[in-house]
Symmetry: C3
Subunit: 267 residues, 3 copies
């Protein structure tokens, strides 16, 4: 990856302020909205079946993306996700899908397979256990943590990309982004980020902003993960723990410039 191409996407987000329509979980609604605002996007949270189609329509008309996150699932939300994903496919609005906790309960795993089987996502973003669960493997995840090895994660990511015809972005100590053939590795971030709730969900939301401005979906997904990790590193330097990290992370998203990306980007 090149620092200037990463920052070009960030600048495009700031210039176009794409509408990122999130149907996401209760835990992270506020924090992902803040991350999207900090980087320059326009977040909308709307989950009612009466309006998701209209909201996706706005995203289609003015440029945007749909982010589906199953973190706190229930029946009415699934119906709204289904309707929103259908509309997004019809209007060519890119979909980022986050299978939070897939593998932890059959309800989550089954819901993901049903939604991904009926509609075409642009990017699936999750940790290794969650992504594995999309393949009928017998991995058991402990909540939303990842226990898979990097090698297994890579093979699984490729299989999932092939199965659903999309880019797969697997977060971990080294993130793996693949379209089934090409592979990009992102080795950014800081251990303290795992002690802040919803930074994985934030990665998915931010990925939506990048997908809205960069038609090269693989690059968009990789750039998003690089920015997440770099801003986490910048924030960690100023932080005494996970509480202060979260705020400095938003500040870092807001202030990120080329020298910041260049300074922190690893090969």
């Amino acid at each position: 990856m090149q620092a200037d191409l990463i920052l070009a996407d960030v600048e495009a987000i700031r210039a176009k302020s794409p509408l990122v329509h999130n149907i996401t979980n209760y835990v992270v609604m506020n924090t992902t909205a803040n991350a999207l605002l900090a980087i320059g996007a326009s977040p909308v949270m709307a989950h009612s079946i009466e309006e998701v189609e209209d909201m996706v329509g706005i995203a289609g008309a003015i440029g945007g993306a749909l982010v589906i996150n199953i973190g706190t699932l229930s029946e009415k939300w699934i119906a709204a996700m289904d309707k929103a994903m259908r509309a997004a496919n019809e209007k060519n609005v890119p979909i980022v899908f986050d299978p939070v906790g897939a593998g932890a309960t059959p309800y989550r795993t089954d819901t993901c397979k049903q939604l991904l089987g009926s509609h075409r996502p642009s990017i699936i973003r999750g940790n290794a256990s969650e992504v594995m669960a999309l393949l009928n493997s017998d991995v058991t995840t402990k909540g939303v943590d990842s226990s898979a090895t990097t090698d297994a994660a890579l093979e699984t990511a490729k299989l999932v990309a092939d199965t659903y015809g999309c880019v797969v972005s697997v977060s971990g100590e080294t993130d793996i982004i693949t379209d089934g053939e090409k592979i990009i590795r992102v080795a950014q971030g800081h251990a303290l980020m795992t002690r802040v709730t919803g930074l994985g969900c934030t990665a998915s939301a931010i990925t939506g902003a990048f997908a809205a401005v960069n038609k090269d979906t693989l690059a968009a997904a990789a750039h998003a993960m690089a920015v997440m990790g770099i801003c986490g590193e910048i924030a960690a330097k100023k932080s005494a723990g996970p509480g202060t990290l979260q705020l400095h992370f938003y500040d870092a998203l807001h202030n990120l410039d080329l020298s910041g990306v260049s300074e922190h980007l690893r090969a």
Copy 2:
């Protein structure tokens, strides 16, 4: 506006700790509760149709306000809002209504018109596009942003105030507060505030606290917007971005005194 009258309301909030009953959106429940606590009010979030009438009753008995915010709407919530607003009108509890995203989807616009047509709010607080949408104009809002000019906003605010028989508080670079005749302009605030999610919703919640202690509804609405803007300015001085701004903003609400108001208040 006079600094001492603004602070008198703040002191009244701290002394009486009015109950502010919010039926609000998922994104801002935590942050608006924190803002209300920081300024000295007693926030309650309760949306179940089984209890909203009782909760409004407590607000009526001990002094308080009802804040209705349609940010993340669904059918059951609308029914609860309807019931709560009816109870508030019966018990003379002031209602602050925030039409979040009105104009963005028909669902939002129609819901606002239905609720405002059936009940009498004390104050409608939104951005110019949202307030315009309450008038059957053909404005299209992009999510929750405002695109209207100040002049158009003023004319619309007056019309909405006349239509619904209430004070209208329109936020923007210069806030406009009017009862249809008198007009108060508030030119406070900081650009960084637009990069924090839910500060508009927070303005509505804080307006509820002021409406609970000051029967002059126009003054209450204006004082609330002045305090929002002033605390945003105080916070911005200490902040490197939107993340740190949000926290310093709560601290500023908590610590606001007469010299802080006087120092920052513009004509």
Copy 3:
């Protein structure tokens, strides 16, 4: 209480990272998840009736706790709480129950009595007014504040412990923790903590983490309250108001060590 025993529980949480399954209110989902992560536990928020039994099963299999918090109640959530509590009792997963706002509306009070009458909690944690309301007394609470005196709180706590056969943890200026016979008092904390939303709910969530690693339920509940108060004191020293307090509080949970506990622990 002894500082080393308190820290031993903290170290056990960090080592075992127990799964704390929360069915909690919208206002605090993010903040309680952050507090649990900061202290080293693995939070899961899941409320759908389709999966709560499975999630409790994971908590039972790998060690964990169930936290039930009625802060933003509605019918479907009550059904899920009922099912989750039944599963927890069957699998010997400790339940922490937080009767937020009990006494404020009949809906809250009745729901608490129904759930606590059908299932066996390990620990009930609330403020004095909420705990009193579980006894059919005629206390009226103003939202989620406490107005009861310490003496009345102690007698009530004992009665509630006897009635429901569990430990009762009553927060206040001095916290009272009792199993109906033994009494532990915790006099930690800082006034600024009452100006941050959901720190009571956070105490319940943290109590869940302690109950997951310490089978002495009375000690677990008391250690949790001591850690809450001590971390609040540590955070308050660095904070200019409630906004910054909340973040320094997470940092304090993350960094707490024996010297920190020893230095702040009162008799």
